[in-house]
């Protein structure tokens, strides 16, 4: 049994006097899809940021990560002055340098064909988000942490993305998703429910 890509023991977080979760333990292994549910403000994003390593204090418990992380949050993380091609090339430049056609192909998979060269500020907010999501179609980072990836994505895009998630998991990757929508994905889903009533 390989070591988990990210493991957290005894996580408890309190915000503004409310206890969001207490003694939460997660071990995300290869080939697993975790879905974190809970109403708004239940701490889904905070949990994701703790797992990703962006949040390093303000919570109790220990987090160990054995792999690089691909984190997609609420912000599009694209530079509006650069073109989608340059943005995507920059995002994946960390692990390897990809030829131009692979990048354009990834952009096409999220429905941005024809927009590769234009500056990103000419695109709509939804399109800018899809530039960020295009990373999923090209990056080889095993661990994905996605914060409500399906918001502002049309029907076809959602189906496209879900098939990509299942192919990534079959390929030995791991995904942690926070989302309200039910996921139609090939593999089984481990659920974490944060909707417990906030205890004082």
């Amino acid at each position: 049994m390989a070591a988990p890509l990210v493991a957290a023991e005894g996580l408890s977080l309190e915000r503004g006097g409310r206890e969001l979760f207490r003694d939460l333990s997660i071990a995300v292994r290869q080939g697993q899809l975790w879905q974190i549910e809970g109403e708004n403000g239940a701490g889904k994003t905070s949990l994701l940021r703790i797992l990703s390593g962006l949040s390093r204090f303000g919570y109790a418990g220990k987090v160990t990560r054995t792999s690089a992380v691909l984190y997609i949050g609420h912000q599009p993380a694209v530079k509006s002055l650069l073109s989608p091609r340059e943005n995507l090339a920059w995002h994946v430049s960390g692990d390897a340098s990809y030829p131009r056609n692979e990048i354009d192909d990834a952009l096409a998979r999220v429905g941005l064909n024809g927009y590769e060269g234009v500056p990103t500020y000419t695109l709509s907010a939804g399109q800018q988000r899809r530039v960020n999501l295009a990373r999923l179609f090209i990056s080889q980072v095993p661990l994905w942490l996605l914060d409500e990836p399906f918001t502002a994505i049309d029907r076809r895009g959602v189906v496209n993305l879900q098939s990509r998630l299942s192919s990534h998991i079959e390929g030995g990757g791991a995904v942690v998703v926070t989302s309200h929508q039910p996921l139609e994905v090939a593999c089984d889903i481990c659920r974490v429910d944060l909707t417990g009533s906030p205890r004082f």
Binding site: R49, S52, G53, L54, S55, R56, F57, G58, A68, V69, Y71, G73, H74, Q75, P76, A77, V78, K79, S80, L81, L82, E86, W90, H91, S93, G94
Partner: protein, 222 residues
Amino acid sequence: MRFCLRLLLRQLALAVRRPIEIGQPLMFFAMVIALFPLGLGPDPGSLAGFAPGVLWVTALLANLLSADTVFRSDFDDGSLEQLLLSPQPLFLSVLAYIGAHWLTTGLLLALVSPVFALMLNLSPAVIGSLVMGLLLGTAVLSLLGCVGASLTVGLKRGGMLISLLILPLYIPVLIFGTAAVQASLDGISAVPYLAMLAAMLCLAIALAPLAVAAGLRISVDA
């Protein structure tokens, strides 16, 4: 190290895409320099006496104003978070930001300053030590300025606060910068003062990126 260079090139590409932003510190520098003769009187003799101090204080303020924007645009659109998640050591990547900020403000200020030195009737023989001092000094100012910027980038109204945080740290640079120009005015060699500025630069290059990296981690997580 290659990632750091690529990040530097990306920052410069971003800066070049909107040249007016590069121009702002220079225009501020020119404008404030033009204010002093109006305030202190046009008499060339007195202006020459104030010239080193005026040039350095204005370069300091121009640097301070532009320090706030170093991380703010990346913080607002979320690409700063992605940088924190990259496996590359953060304090090296931060050097790229600081280098890009220095190239777009400090270096240009140093190259443009002879024109304003002549406007303030500073004797041309001295301009060499002024430019050398500004080159070294503005690098230290960028490093310290980015420390302040990293701590206030998360705050909505961080602009004013950054001046209170880092102006006290700018004082040694100001003192030795003006002393270098003053020394060459009095005919003695300015090299020892430039050496002091270089020493401060080495210390700042070694320590400031650590503080900037820590500051960014705190601001992104706040």
